[in-house]
Symmetry: C2
């Protein structure tokens, strides 16, 4: 029922997924049966693979998370997440209210790691493919331990979602040298380097490495991640907006844009980020789809849900998490490198 378009996007997405995903994949549709039943009945493939679970209540897109949470029990969103806890569903997928989905997921599934909230992941397009970027807003204050947890979860997610056996990991900082940055990133760097994790850690990366695809997974705290993500989105929109203005600025430009129309449309698709964001760190899988997602986007999210569900993702996270206490203890017993009084080591 969620997202900007509700069932008018979700139903065609399920229809696409029914055609594209293996027969063994089936769907629970949570929401208003009176709306969903006639819609889904138009898709003949749905019989036997789609079950409607009626819910009276729907969480609004603009409700505050705390307020939504109080009245959420029995809503379509609540029921979708509860089905994951009950083992009826392998993954919950929603285009609804992000804050509410996060709060409901945390309440029903509980955290599997020591975080305030699930880590929020963004997928950033690059010339090489996609960078997995986290945390982009859920955990504002992060110590070294949390940054390492993001690295462990992001690595496993990237492998499961993109099928890359050995994703590379970078830690976001203001420079590539080990002396740079604040205490938390320098400590996380030491732990990741020396902690004996099953992970290809490549050290510090900088802001522009995210869109370069310098590494597969870029790790940062939720404050920096949220701001960097929105800053990149803003920069992208600004550049595309200026391009649009330029291509309408005269007859020649307009004619040129018309000729190049096919190429410009492909360009638009290339620079748009994938619309799916997992919540990491829960006892169960929840995928958030962008509120404005199209049916094609939402169907793509259902494919990611399938890939994650059948991956070894949770076990891989657990294996590395078990190394974490020892890794933290080893690193903190060493003399930590002094930031030093070098001039301008902050800037790069």
């Amino acid at each position: 029922m969620g997202g900007d378009h509700g069932p008018s996007v979700v139903i065609p997405a399920v229809a696409r997924a029914l055609a594209e995903l293996p027969e063994r994949v089936s769907f629970l549709l949570h929401g208003d049966e009176a709306v969903l039943a006639p819609e889904i009945a138009r898709h003949p493939g749905a019989a036997g693979r789609v079950t409607i679970r009626h819910a009276d209540k729907v969480i609004g897109m603009d409700e505050k998370p705390a307020q939504a949470l109080r009245r959420s029990k029995g809503s379509s969103m609540w029921n979708a997440v509860e089905a994951v806890r009950e083992g009826e569903a392998a993954c919950a997928v929603s285009a609804g209210n992000t804050g509410a989905l996060m709060a409901i997921s945390k309440l029903i599934l509980r955290m599997s790691v020591d975080l305030d909230r699930p880590a929020l992941v963004a997928s950033i397009p690059t010339p090489k493919g996609v960078t997995t970027f986290l945390d982009v807003g859920a955990n504002v204050d992060c110590d070294a331990e949390r940054l390492v947890e993001f690295a462990i979860m992001g690595e496993a997610y990237h492998r499961a979602a993109h099928g890359k056996a050995h994703p590379t990991i970078g830690l976001l900082n203001v420079g590539a040298e080990e002396m740079k940055g604040h205490d938390e990133v320098r400590e996380a760097h030491s732990v990741l380097r020396q902690g004996g994790f099953d992970m290809d850690f490549r050290g510090f990366v900088e802001g522009d490495d995210i869109t370069k695809g310098a590494v597969d997974v870029v790790v940062t705290d939720g404050f920096t991640g949220n701001i960097a993500l929105k800053a990149m989105e803003g920069a992208g929109r600004f550049v595309v907006g200026e391009l649009r203005t330029a291509l309408k600025s005269g007859a020649l430009a307009t004619a040129g844009a018309l000729l190049a129309r096919g190429a410009l449309m492909k360009f638009g698709e290339r620079v748009n980020p994938p619309p799916t964001a997992p919540f990491l760190g829960l006892n169960g899988l929840v995928l958030k789809v962008h509120g404005g997602a199209s049916a094609r986007d939402f169907a793509q999210a259902l494919r990611v849900a399938m890939d994650l569900s059948q991956s070894d993702f949770a076990a891989e996270i657990e294996r590395n998490m078990r190394r974490l206490p020892a890794a933290l203890a080893e690193t903190s017993s060493e003399p930590s490198p002094e930031p030093g009084n070098e001039p301008a080591e902050g800037a790069d």
Copy 2:
């Protein structure tokens, strides 16, 4: 002598400035006289308005700041900054090594505010003009007091550089509500709101507001600022790179791009950030010009140097700085707003 192109950019820039700026503006050129003298002699307007100050040493673009600092005395960069301290020059302008220029400036001019290093400012193009964004990398750990100092200095700089009488100020955060973010930004928000500064403070802004031009000056710590700046630059380069690829992807696209060539070139100019960054918080004016700047860019920096030199900038900063101790004391005596246990208040 600095920058990627050295005198081959600086000399033509000075020649432009000689033609464009008032007659009373004159220049001290620091560097190798054997290189500079014949070059500048080709410009007839230079006589009487350009003085060459010979320096044997040049700081390399790749030298580490600490290493550069040790051997910097008597270099062209050192002499340029020293001329500001001695009152011979109103402003030092350099396209050289950023870290070295920052370290030398701090050593020679000393800080006028309570910061580790001068704040580094970026100018971000927006559909409305330019956003002044600081600190973009010099001060990695920032408490509320430092954030307020950035606001005070950024406001005065924006007015002086862009001629806007009442610039608007925003504090970068993960959401616009007062409860969001970490302690330092929430405290800085209170101080700016209640401190009685001569400033149009508009509260919190988000990452995408930087390129929207939602406010004139966006304030953040040097860690977040450096990462957000590079993330935006990276996103811009990615989008422009994909556009270039798309426009070479076939005969129609290439023909279209050829027709729209003039518009695309204007677009390129619109999205490129202005190449000048002041170091704020010093007892004296120092402007850093991007290493790859063209003669036109460098001439533009010389105009900014003139505007700053004849502005009331330093006095305005001092006036607001004098309010700061009282403002901090007032705010810290109030009960600070609790972050609360609201779900997902970190994300937005």
